[in-house]
């Protein structure tokens, strides 16, 4: 008799496929929030598996801050082509030009918080009733209590104290006009699970994740890539280092780590020995103890 149990990666995959199919069945116009980072790439891969032999029935939505790594945009466009799916771009630059948001000032200014408005506008304009994200509960303490199906009111806000209870695998996506949901199929995955899965499934990811030579500046305990958007302090010095990125966000806030890992297997080895969380290199989370929770309440990813 064969064994009738799944290993942990197969069980996580099956759970994510189940969630994606529930999203498709319960909503009219769901999209995948695609950042070009490994988590949204994995979610897209899972969507491909969930609906095979049909095409992915969702559009991909990208919130473009204008402060991108060029590699991310290239990767995004290639993937869209390969999958034959529709791409929706919400532009932070347009939100600024239309006066919907104002650019932050100062040395540590970023467009991170500005994305919230652009994202919510894009959701509203495109009549999206469910935005599927690659958020994981192990990432950050405010995310540890996130549901698979997470309700947002008609202002796009998350109320952590008023979340719907989620029992067994019964998801309640009922909502009123103007409200939307966020769905997180890989809630139960850890960073390690994501890397092991990328390795197992042989999923392509942007070159930025692999060790490469790059001009960087040491700031807030990590290597910030040099770019046209970076305002250098007098004391700061641009160096060339062999680095890679553990997460991908805006080029202005994503810190790299020194690394020699140039294959997925080596990255997985490196991650398993890490003593810092992956978001430890994200200056957007360092602003306060509840920085993530505060942004999530307003409608952040």
């Amino acid at each position: 008799m064969s064994k009738y149990y799944l290993n942990y990666l197969d069980e996580l995959e099956s759970e994510a496929i189940f969630v994606l199919r529930e999203v498709w069945a319960q909503f009219q116009n769901p999209v995948i929030l695609f950042s070009g980072g490994k988590d949204s790439i994995v979610v897209t891969h899972l969507a491909r598996k969930a609906f095979y032999p049909s095409k992915i029935p969702f559009s991909l939505m990208h919130v473009d801050t204008g402060h991108n790594f060029p590699e991310t945009i290239q990767f995004r466009d290639n993937l869209i082509n390969e999958l034959g799916v529709n791409l929706i771009v919400g532009s932070v630059q347009e939100s600024i030009d239309q006066g919907r948001v104002a650019e932050e000032k100062g040395k540590n200014a970023t467009r991170n918080a500005l994305q919230i408005t652009t994202l919510l506008d894009a959701i509203e304009v495109n009549n999206v009733d469910c935005a599927i994200g690659g958020g994981r509960r192990d990432e950050e303490k405010a995310r540890a209590k996130e549901r698979f199906f997470s309700h947002r009111d008609d202002f796009g806000q998350w109320d952590p104290k008023n979340q719907r209870p989620e029992l067994w695998n019964i998801f309640n996506g009922k909502h009123f006009e103007g409200e939307h949901f966020r769905a997180f199929p890989i809630s139960n995955w850890t960073e390690m699970d994501v890397w092991n899965y990328i390795a197992r499934e042989n999923i392509s990811i942007p070159s930025l994740y692999f060790a490469h030579e790059r001009e960087v500046v040491w700031r807030q305990n990590s290597w910030i890539p040099n770019s046209e958007f970076l305002k250098l302090e007098e004391t700061e010095e641009v160096l060339t280092k062999k680095i890679r990125f553990r997460t991908l966000g805006d080029i202005t806030i994503t810190g790299g780590i020194e690394s020699e890992a140039d294959t997925v297997e080596k990255i997985a080895m490196e991650v398993s020995a890490m003593r810092q969380t992956e978001r430890g290199n994200r200056s957007d989370d360092k602003r306060s103890e509840t920085a993530m929770e505060d942004r999530k309440r307003q409608g952040y990813f």
């Binding site: 064969s2 064994k3 049909s54 303490k141 209590k145 989620e166 309640n172």
Partner: protein, 417 residues
């Protein structure tokens, strides 16, 4: 991590006083799952609050309100991995007003950890937690008798708690109960075997979690396949493909099996069981697959494919153990939406048979109200038949939720008797 490692989901119920947060902190810390930046953040907060040393309990506090009040309001999920297994902890608060959170955390758990303070023995809270574990049919219960350091690591104190526990637990339906004497604060018998309790011959907690036999907890007898959605690619390569997508709830399905589609009752044979990676020879819980049938019959979301020689009950009248989850009480004879697997119907609560006093576990028949955290036996009538199994036999086809259509909120969760 080795490829055939399994996933174990367990729940921990308890309050700060039991040392629950310390125990979780200890498991994560000793299994090297706490990162340096997380530890630094906790150290900073510990100092600011004037605590001596690092308060590992802070690691399990999440939302701002909880950090301010020093309590866990909601279910928080934690993750750690050892070379043997991946673990998901559903960390829930233990006080009576959070019964609904305990029920939520318990609904997906393979195992429950129940903490007992060795000095106080079995108290009402212990009984409540055990009752919920039994009600939600968690297959394995591990009773950790904590703070053994405060009773001189005495075997007598440990045995006393076991006797107390066994006295009341004979009424419960738990298949597997184990007892472990621990000190979460000092790490005795959590990850490492205690040198202070040589009289204890059993395994430490982590080893127990790593070796619990969970493969046989899944129902492999009753083949149940709730259809989530229909895949119709209508592409050149798959012009006539019509696959029923879903996740196997229980049992084993194979191509060639004689199946019945419920509620219509049409019969056919399984033609193929498909995945992105190709056809498979058999599908079992909790695999997500797509099934094609030999005959062109009408199948859609909410239908259930079952083996023809083993079908669930079909009924409009169901008895459930209902946990009320919402702060507004049940409205008498009001209609609710009922969700059962992928099926969505309307339902009415016809009768409250009895309500449990969650502290004494006695049945009350006078009070017919359903308010938040109440656990009651009720009779429900649905507008159309549901395809049901008892929760004891099948956690997926034996569970329901109720949704209030005026607010869209999930207001209750039920286990079919």
């Amino acid at each position: 991590m080795i490829d055939n490692n399994q996933l174990l989901r367990f729940t921990t119920a308890g309050s700060v006083d039991d040392g629950k947060s310390t125990l979780i902190g200890r498991l994560l810390y000793d299994s090297k799952s706490i990162f340096e930046d997380q530890l630094e953040a906790i150290e900073t907060t510990s100092k600011r609050k004037g605590h001596d040393g690092v308060d590992l309990a802070l690691f399990t506090d999440g939302l701002r309100d909880e950090r301010e009040q020093g309590i866990t309001i909601d279910v928080a999920y934690r993750y750690f991995t050892t070379p043997k297994r991946k673990f998901i902890i559903a960390d829930t608060p233990g006080h009576i007003q959070y019964t609904r959170n305990m029920v939520t955390g318990a609904s997906t758990a393979n195992a429950a950890i129940i903490l007992v303070d060795a000095r106080h023995g079995v108290i009402e809270q212990t009984k409540r937690h055990s009752f919920i574990a039994s009600l939600l049919q968690i297959p394995h219960v591990i009773v950790c008798i904590n703070k053994m350091d405060l009773v001189d690591h005495s075997e007598e104190a440990y045995n006393k708690v076991i006797n107390q526990f066994e006295e009341f637990s004979s009424k419960l339906l738990v298949k597997d109960i184990r007892f472990i004497p621990i000190s979460a604060l000092n790490g005795d018998n959590v990850v490492n075997r205690s040198e202070n309790m040589p009289w204890y011959q059993g395994a430490p907690l982590l080893h127990t979690l790593e070796t619990l036999h969970i493969s046989s907890d899944i129902n492999k007898v009753d083949a149940r396949f709730p259809v989530q959605t229909v895949l119709r690619p209508q592409s050149e390569a798959h012009r006539d493909y019509r696959g029923y997508a879903g996740r196997v709830a229980s049992g084993v399905l194979r191509p060639g099996d004689e199946v019945t589609v419920l509620p219509s009752g049409f019969t056919s044979q399984i033609k193929s069981i498909d995945t992105f990676n190709g056809e498979v020879e058999e599908a079992f819980a909790p695999m997500s697959v797509s099934i094609t049938l030999e005959d062109d019959i009408d199948v859609g979301r909410g239908d259930m494919i079952v083996r023809s020689n083993n079908t669930p009950d079909t009924s409009q009248d169901i008895e459930v153990m209902l946990c009320w989850l919402h702060n507004s009480p049940a409205k008498p004879r009001a209609k609710y939406s009922i969700r059962h697997t992928s099926n969505d119907q309307k339902a009415m609560i016809k009768e409250v048979v009895y309500k449990y006093d969650i502290n004494t576990l006695e049945r009350q028949t006078e009070d017919k109200t359903l308010t938040m955290n109440d656990i009651s036996k009720v009779r429900i009538r649905t507008t159309k038949p549901l395809m049901i199994d008892s929760y004891r036999e099948n956690r997926t086809t034996g569970s329901i939720i109720l949704v209030d259509d005026t607010t869209n909120e999930t207001v209750a969760a039920g286990m079919i008797v």
